[in-house]
Amino acid sequence: MARIRLQDVRKSYAGQEVIHGITIDIANGEFVVIVGPSGCGKSTLLRMVAGLEEITSGTVTIGDRVVNTLEPRERDVAMVFQNYALYPHMSVRQNMAYGLKIARLPKAEIDQRVARAAEILELQPYLDRKPRALSGGQRQRVAMGRALVREPAAFLLDEPLSNLDAKLRVQMRLQIRDLHLRTGQTTLYVTHDQVEAMTLADRLIVMEKGVAQQIATPHEVYSAPATEVVAGFIGSPAMNIFDARGEAGSILLPGGHRVTIAPRSVSGAVRLGLRPEDVEIRTAPGNTVPIVLRSVEWLGADAFGYGVIENSDTPVTLRLTGSTRAARGDRLHAALPADRLHFFSPRDGRRVPA
């Protein structure tokens, strides 16, 4: 177990910078999730911590050691790969023991650690099988076990659940969370799935185009996204974001609608963000925005309405209750709770305090 510190870590390929300086101090035992759309550099960042990619500049510290130039094996980390990367010719037992064998641990110690990991992951019946005789979920558990037995300073997981079907993914997600609570292992976890990110993380690094847009707890990221990109990426369905104009205590929306947002106040052109679940539907107008529904998706407990602000093309998503009778063509009165509005700068997308 150890803390991990990244200090202005950068990565360039052939002069092209792809990671633009990431700084984070990960506490001992913390579970940090790097989340972002594909191609944002999240896997590259993880692989730099693992030692599989060279660090162009900055420093990576694991425990008390700067590990920049160390080989993966010298960094005392264990990694779980997206496609598991199990050794196909070795049994489950051999797969898990391989790292320990190389580390020249005594046989008894190896056996004991493998047995314990197998017990935690419920792999005992499969110890002598080859990976090809296992299901996807079992292979995934073997990959976890291979990392677990090492008892490393840090766990690195690169999209470990993305090759599983939806049901198994939920199951394994809970199991990973549970495992982390039991072992208290410092963990760095890469995913593009925001549900995984929100449910697993103590803290999130939301990345986009090689930049850490926000490093914060899931709650902070959700309730106060630092940039428009984060606001659009976290939350499902995505936050409504559109151009608006602030004028002393009120705000002018597309379609010429004006609502008061006092006591908050912004001035000039802003990007206004409002989550579908924060919109309140009123039965009568009054400081509301008329929304014309174009379609309704009914999901059981919830329903989502997709419409536009009246007299404009600005699309808006609304969360409705499961008992809604709203249908295509309806005109709804949407109130925008002032304390739930997010404002972003139209220039750089940063959050504007208001």
Binding site: Y87, P88, A103
Partner: protein
Amino acid sequence: MAAGRLARTMAHFWMILGALIVAFPIYYVFIASTHSVQTILRPPLPLLPGPEAAANYGEAFSGGVARIGGVSVWRLLGNTTLIALGIAIGKIVISMASAYAIVFFRFPLRMACFWLIFVTLMLPVEVRIQPTYKVMVDLGLIDTYGGLILPLIASATATLLFRQFFMTIPDELLEAARVDGAGPWRFFKDILWPLSLTNVAAIFVIQFIYGWTQYLWPLLVTNSNEMNTIVIALRKMISFADADTPWNLVMVTSVLAILPPILVVVLMQRWFVKGLVETEK
């Protein structure tokens, strides 16, 4: 299903016919090895084994071949086995090492090295035989096993095959091994080698037979009968005058020359079919 059965019968017919055509000369060699020289020289040659089998084989092993070629059949078989094994194993070692370097390491002129190896594919042994001979003379390797084996163990084909196979190994497997603490040597020994076994078996078979049937190079690089391979000895046993040639012994030697490669194919085939079924990437 009448049409299907007819098609299958036809298919079998052609396959059996093909097999007979391919196998017949070999069968004929065997038949000839069981007849006396007189019978062989008086056409037509019988199609069934004759009564001289024991006598012919007995004579071949008890010095008959040595009397003609100057060296015993055991020595010939031993030489040839040694050379074929040397060539097959040498080729596998060299080509695996070079393919490993080319695929898994980044070094200056990596691609240049690859193309250099690749280009030698286009130069058959015969083209570079004179310079090779000169090098062997200078190194004093004429009439030695080294001289017979070394020039033949560089193999662009095998290097290329191993390269193609190594490139199918997922990067993550290498990375997982690196994180597990395996250095280049351990990765090769513990992971790459076991996964390559089926390929090694296939290449071993091909190269063993290549080595076993070498003719031109052993002919050039050996002077003493002691260093002859069985193929060379066969050639030396045949005189220009038909009647002077002990055809019965030539045929026995031919059978002996064919048997080890067949043995290798049959044994290795069983083994690499097993390997094919068991491994999965």
